[in-house]
């Protein structure tokens, strides 16, 4: 691990001042950052430990739930209001990592989780995300875990988060603060696709701090689920996953949200599938037909081509699950 300096501010002002300095990174749960520092993938000169800040509250409002940036994944996933009002979010967090990791990992850290691309994690391999301009070893490499949408000629790394897929479906908003002031960004606009700058992964600016994530508690969100398909029963990243919310009245679909994980370079919302659902009867035929609209512009490789069909089937399965109101 590269030597670094460490500060632990106790006020937001101190934190924002510290984060405004160059070569600085924020530390929350540490489950990604410490791992990547040990691997020499990230070599920050200064680490700002945010755990002295009072940012771990989960607040239920009249029309939303607001998750403090430092709330742990476990606290969110088992919070009774989250379980009742945002079931897809509870599902998604519980489907990620392991119990021990969820106890440490934070909401903001999960939002900013780095990819699990094996070439990104191996400093001996070229990687435009880790070392801009060095090339992409994944393009012609082993790509079973890589993205099929949102890719570019410079990067095909998949976004690894489960939580963010549920947040994308549930119209979450990210609260940001810097010395210049506060702003909010829709979650679906927070992450960016790689294009020719894979090292930039979100609209978060240098010196800016994630303070909270807010999710509307609509009737739609209360009828949501997340289904994840992976190579083993636990502690594995998604091959394909789907977060789905449905508003069904008198057997007819009034509104729908569909987002995919494991297939995109960012949490992948599927408006075409949503459009294909609205106004139709909530039947297996509708679900199967709508699912075929997903991933129309997929960019596949031999190792990951199966993800396109798999993702469509996961969407259909998740829609049926939500419509039945049943258990997996």
């Amino acid at each position: 691990m590269n030597p670094f300096t460490y500060v632990r501010p106790t006020t937001e002002q101190e934190a924002l001042a510290a984060l405004a300095e160059p070569d600085t990174i924020a530390l929350a749960g540490g489950t990604t950052l410490v791992d990547l520092m040990r691997l020499e993938v990230m070599r920050p000169g200064k680490v700002v430990d945010l755990n002295g800040l009072p940012l771990n509250k989960i607040e239920t409002g009249a029309s939303s739930i607001k998750l403090g940036a430092l709330a742990t994944n476990s606290d969110v996933a088992y919070h009774p209001d989250v379980v009742a009002k945002l079931p897809a979010l509870a599902d998604a967090i519980r489907a990620g990592a392991s119990g021990q990791i969820r106890n440490m990992a934070s909401v903001s850290g999960n939002l900013l989780q780095r990819t699990r691309c094996s070439y990104f994690r191996d400093p001996a391999s070229p990687c435009n995300k880790r070392a801009p301009g060095s090339g992409c070893a994944a393009l012609e490499g082993f790509t079973r875990m890589h993205a099929v949408v949102g890719t570019s000629k410079d990067c095909i790394a998949a976004h690894p988060s489960d939580m963010c897929v549920a947040l994308a479906a549930l119209d979450a908003v990210v609260h940001l603060k810097s010395r210049a002031g506060e702003r909010t960004v829709k979650l679906v606009e927070f992450h960016t696709v790689p294009d020719d700058h894979p090292n930039v992964e979100s609209v978060l600016q240098p010196g800016e701090l994630v303070t909270a994530i807010e999710i509307p508690t609509t009737p739609l969100a209360a009828k949501s689920r997340y289904v994840k398909v992976r190579d083993r029963a636990s502690y594995a990243f998604a091959l394909a996953s789907a977060a789905v919310a449905l508003d069904v009245q008198d057997g007819s679909i009034k509104d729908a949200r569909v987002a995919l994980g494991g297939v995109g370079t960012k949490p992948w919302r599927e408006p075409a599938v949503e459009t294909a659902l609205v106004g139709k009867p909530a039947t297996p035929e509708t679900f199967a037909a709508a699912a075929t609209q997903a991933l129309a512009k997929a960019d596949t490789r031999p190792d990951n081509a199966f993800k396109v069909e798999l993702a469509k089937r996961v969407i259909a399965r998740t829609l049926a699950l939500v419509a039945s109101g049943g258990s997996k």
């Binding site: 590269n2 020499e40 082993f142 083993r232 029963a233 594995a236 091959l239």
Partner: protein
């Protein structure tokens, strides 16, 4: 007194392990120990054209930096040339033979400072095109003599005639990937020199093998080397032979002039300590209208390194499994630019039973005969290859007991005919087998004046229960309670015992312990002065019966899988297995071994896959997040039936070894169950869900 052998006592060392007081190699407390880090190559083939070492040498806390430019000259080759010895890479030249080969060792006062200094080394390479997989070089396959047991080829009867006479036959290719052992305890070595005497604390399955190798490498007498390893956190074969890091640690300690510790990192576990090699296995098999086998051909090709040979003997069991008159087997290797493979739990039988026991299932389906029935119609009462009786064989009882408990009779023969909700249900079964190996061993028993007994042998406990069962054997032989006996192992200063591999620790060391205790008892009976230590030491010889009988264990695995019809998700829903392995010394530790083997078999069938980038030769799946082994949620109820089996020929205590048979057969049973569930035959491990989509 009631014997302890045969009772399920708790492990003698359980308390130490769960309280963290068991001293593994890296835990050894050595004064002034410095920490070493091995730097490895990022290319798979070529030479080192330049090294920038100044920054590393200047880095805080650095004591020494060793490279090929200045490392002491030592012997890194093979003298004996046996299958248990490997050519080492000890910084003796600028040549790179595989990716992640050791090219430097950095020693510093703390581990963190050594790690940091290691990142300051810059290497310039003159790379050459590497061959990273055998499919790129199959034309160069050749027959290697480096097979552990017997000859690489066998031929009885006439396979072509037998295939010609077959009513039903098939030819198919089965493949298994590279796999890595990944014991929880990574390899670690602490080396201490006192003048020209070397003490090595090493995570190893064979302390005497390490002693002999260090003597060879440094050109010193064996009696100047002492190797200690009192606890091993899993061996599985990768700790069966000393690898480069052991000698590099001793070399670094010599250069640094102080004790040095090196613990291999998890990513290095994929390149520095061997792997199960990728196999391509071609099988041709046929039977007559009644299901009697007429011929089997089983040809195996596996990868090996450019500079050394290792044979994965995947066709050995095919010679003895069935009463088939015409059987031919071959083993060939292909040299590529990769590290040397090695033994991995049931080397040969694990990968080989996947192929042959899948092929038997395919043949049974063709012939419309129940797969268990087809196996029983071809039951080998005697060893069909050696034309000798088995010392004992209870496979028929294993088949019956496990089939009954599993409910095999409820299986509907047609694939895709059983389902529940989203899930297709499949039943599959296969035969398990492993040879009963043994070697001579020595042991020493001491009666103490306080009425207790110390029993010692230079063997190892890989976490399997050696401490426990040897204590039980000794207590029974001495006719005292187990708490009067202390058993010591893991030190080459003790009487010599073989390495713990090939499931042979109990069958080799057990008789020596019993005989030493019996000799001590005779001495005690002949003396009245018990104020001094009274000692008896013995060395066993292999039983003469070994040449008269064929020595093998057998078992049967029955598996239910559930496959999500849309999503392809495969889960093993239950396993019932029966094993007949001679005398069981401790049902609790034995069950651990059987279940552990089955769990690993589930991983081998569905998950394990070391992926090497075909362009660079580097392993892509370098950690336990990318290299999958089963998690708890993958593992169902596993019901193991231990069949009582008396064997008066195998050795003096009637045991046949239990460490490896559990991982044999199970992968084929799962593949066969997946076929029964889905109608899809997967001949390429691991069976992941994308192979079932569509």
């Amino acid at each position: 007194m009631k014997p302890s052998v045969g009772t399920p006592i708790d492990r003698i060392d359980a308390h130490k392990k769960v309280t963290g007081t068991a001293t593994y190699a890296a835990d050894t407390d050595v004064t002034k120990v410095a920490h070493g880090v091995i730097v490895t190559s990022t290319i798979a083939k070529g030479t080192i054209a330049g090294l920038e070492l100044a920054a590393a040498r200047r880095s805080p806390g650095v004591i020494a930096v060793l490279t090929h430019l200045d490392a002491p000259r030592v012997f890194a080759g093979k003298k004996a040339g046996g299958p248990g010895e490997r050519v080492l890479q000890l910084l003796q030249s600028d040549v790179i033979l595989y990716a992640d080969q050791p090219i430097a060792v950095v020693v510093a006062d703390t581990l963190e400072r050594a790690q940091h200094a290691a990142t300051a080394i810059t290497v310039k390479y003159a790379p050459e095109a590497a061959v990273a997989g055998i499919e790129q070089a199959l034309g160069s396959a050749f027959t290697s003599k480096a097979i552990g047991h017997g000859e690489p080829d066998s031929n009885r009867g006439n396979v072509e005639t037998g295939l010609g006479a077959a009513k039903w036959k098939l030819e198919a290719t089965y493949t298994t990937p590279n796999e890595n052992h990944n014991p929880m305890e990574p390899h670690a070595t602490v080396a201490v020199w006192h003048g020209d005497e070397l003490t090595v604390y090493d995570a190893t399955q064979g302390i005497f093998g390490v002693r002999n190798r260090m003597a060879e490498v440094f050109g010193i007498p064996k009696d100047k080397v002492r190797v200690v390893d009192q606890f091993v956190g899993g061996g599985f074969g990768c700790k069966g032979t000393p690898w480069s890091h052991v000698a590099l640690t001793a070399m670094a300690a010599k250069v640094a002039n102080r004790p040095v510790k090196i613990a291999i990192t998890r990513p290095q576990m994929f390149s520095l300590v061997g792997h199960r090699p990728h196999t391509i296995q071609n099988i041709a098999i046929g039977c007559d209208a009644e299901g009697k086998l007429t011929a089997i051909r089983h040809d195996v090709i596996n990868e090996t390194s450019r500079f050394d040979e290792f044979v994965e003997p995947s066709a050995l069991q095919t010679r003895i499994l069935y009463a088939c008159p015409n059987v031919a087997t071959t083993h060939k290797v292909v040299k590529i630019d990769a590290p040397t493979p090695t033994f991995m739990r049931a080397p040969g039988e694990s990968s080989g039973t996947f192929a042959i026991e899948s092929a038997i299932d395919e043949l049974a389906f063709l012939a419309k005969i129940d797969p268990l029935e087809l196996r029983t119609r071809n039951y080998a009462v005697t060893d069909p290859q050696m034309a000798k009786p088995f010392s004992s064989k209870s496979l028929d009882k294993c088949y019956r007991a496990a089939a009954d408990k599993f409910g095999w009779a409820k299986r509907k023969p047609t694939p895709r005919s059983m389902r529940e909700g989203h899930e297709l249900v499949g039943y599959g079964m296969a035969t398990a087998t492993y040879p009963a190996n043994q070697q001579p061993a020595a042991a020493k028993a001491t009666a103490k004046p306080d009425g207790t007994f110390l029993v010692q042998a230079g063997t190892q406990d890989l976490g399997t229960g050696t401490y426990t069962v040897m204590t039980q054997l000794a207590a029974d032989a001495l006719e005292v309670p187990i708490d009067k006996v202390r058993f010591e192992l893991g030190d080459s200063a003790l009487p010599e015992a073989p390495g713990s591999g090939g499931s042979m620790t109990v069958g080799s060391v057990g008789p020596a312990v019993v005989q030493a205790c019996q000799a001590l008892k005779a001495k005690l009976a002949a003396t009245t002065d018990h104020t001094q230590d009274i000692v008896a030491e013995v060395k066993t010889e292999l039983s003469k019966d070994k040449d008269l009988y064929s020595l093998h264990s057998f078992g049967a695995d029955f598996v239910e899988v559930r496959v999500d019809e849309d999503l392809g998700i495969i889960r093993v829903a239950r396993v019932v297995a029966a094993f007949a392995t001679g005398k069981i010394l401790n049902p609790k530790t034995a069950n651990n071994q059987f279940v552990g083997g089955i769990v690993w078999g589930i991983g081998m069938a569905l998950q394990e896959d070391t992926v090497r980038d075909r362009r660079t030769g580097r392993v892509v799946t370098r950690d336990l997040a990318d290299y999958h082994v089963p998690v708890h949620a993958d593992i169902p109820a596993i019901d193991v039936i231990s069949i009582d089996e008396k064997d008066d020929h195998v050795n003096a205590i009637g045991t046949k070894g239990i460490g490896e048979i559990g991982i044999t057969g199970i992968t084929a049973a799962i593949a066969n169950a997946v076929f029964h569930a889905t109608g899809k035959r997967v001949r390429d491990l691991p069976i992941r869900l994308d192979k079932l989509l569509g």
